[in-house]
Symmetry: C2
Subunit: 254 residues, 2 copies
Amino acid sequence: MCAYPKPGNVDRCHDYADTRLEHFLASTILVRPAFERAGRGEGSIGELIREAVSLTNSHSGGNTHFGAYMLLIPLLLGNDIDGALRAIAETTVEDALDFYAGFSLTRVRMHGEDELDANDPASLEAIRARRMSLLDIMHHSAPNDMVAREWTEGYRLTRRGADLLKANGCGRDSIVASFLQLLASEPDTFIIKKHGAGVAAQTMQHAGEVLSGKRRLDEFDAECIAAGINPGSIADIIIASIYVALGEGWQWDC
Amino acid sequence: MCAYPKPGNVDRCHDYADTRLEHFLASTILVRPAFERAGRGEGSIGELIREAVSLTNSHSGGNTHFGAYMLLIPLLLGNDIDGALRAIAETTVEDALDFYAGFSLTRVRMHGEDELDANDPASLEAIRARRMSLLDIMHHSAPNDMVAREWTEGYRLTRRGADLLKANGCGRDSIVASFLQLLASEPDTFIIKKHGAGVAAQTMQHAGEVLSGKRRLDEFDAECIAAGINPGSIADIIIASIYVALGEGWQWDC
């Protein structure tokens, strides 16, 4: 949250009306018991994600970190990307049902016509009937959700973000630079769900123009905010990248 | 940290060159084991303060919360102001020596001619020879240090700050208003130590002018920052006020 501006996101410099900086910080504090349990290797992925959502659902700011929990809980259980992928490969139907129970506590937007809509009780029946693991659910969601794709594609963008962080040097400026580089190279599926693929493509282009010096970062940030364009999925992925990079010696403090 | 502007302090809107928002947030996370132990009633005040300093001393931002730990550790041990005062009354020479060991890890400014300078090994000898408890140390420091005065005067300003928070309503705007009201009514001893009594009195006056609408809050903030005027002790006291007010039903989230 200290890195700024992260265009379009709640950050140190601005809030959204319903979700403010203090909600993100409160979630960071409230989630700790779930993270500590995951760090000790206790519990299963779906149940830990459900606990993380439940712990952070007590304030008025709504969902702050759902996508981040999806990425961090396996990393905490497995210690690094390889370990996370091993934990993910072992998920079960129970993990899927727990995940949906957590999901239903949030107001996270689903793809409009999803046959496994978390708010539809029939989805749970379908998951049971088809014996879908949580990894199966992520394969189902991957075409429309880049966070799910991290599960199915080996944390590809998390890995790239961690490499960018290390290449860009220490501290919060490196986070902003790495965020912009991911934003310029990948359409954010959270933007696609809310505004459509055209807006996501335009956001990528504008991020690229910031990187090449053709557009000012603060103007890009103001444009995103004014239009409600919030690259929330790439923000989730950068959080996971920070976790991985810190584990590999990257320094936040310089 | 979300309440802003807190004139002259590191807050959401600005950093000092050496101490930045992320250092304050890192301390908040790092200190947790000491706070949890105090909340369970384990350990003694001096040793817990030393642990809190030791846990938060690993980053480059220097001291962020020393005064706040002095106020919060007794509150966590005692659960409220009455309980804190009971815990304080029981402090021993060991608490005093532990406190000095913690203090010596920081770069906190002492009163220039203090005969019990924490950086002078002779101070420890004097504390032992005179059998001074940590409360005795605070009586020694109280004339020049308003945080020490909270110990000797029954958390008087902490209490007033908590009442102001409740009177000013919920959320972060109430924190800013209550901070300004304390700042307008009490000279900050951290400012006195750094800039002298005249500057502290002027800061009080300017805070009062903000409250009466004669001075703009953002201009006052900018003036403080430009002159390096940092009301750090009142900031510590407001932290304790928030703790007390939350325990009495005040809402941070609205």
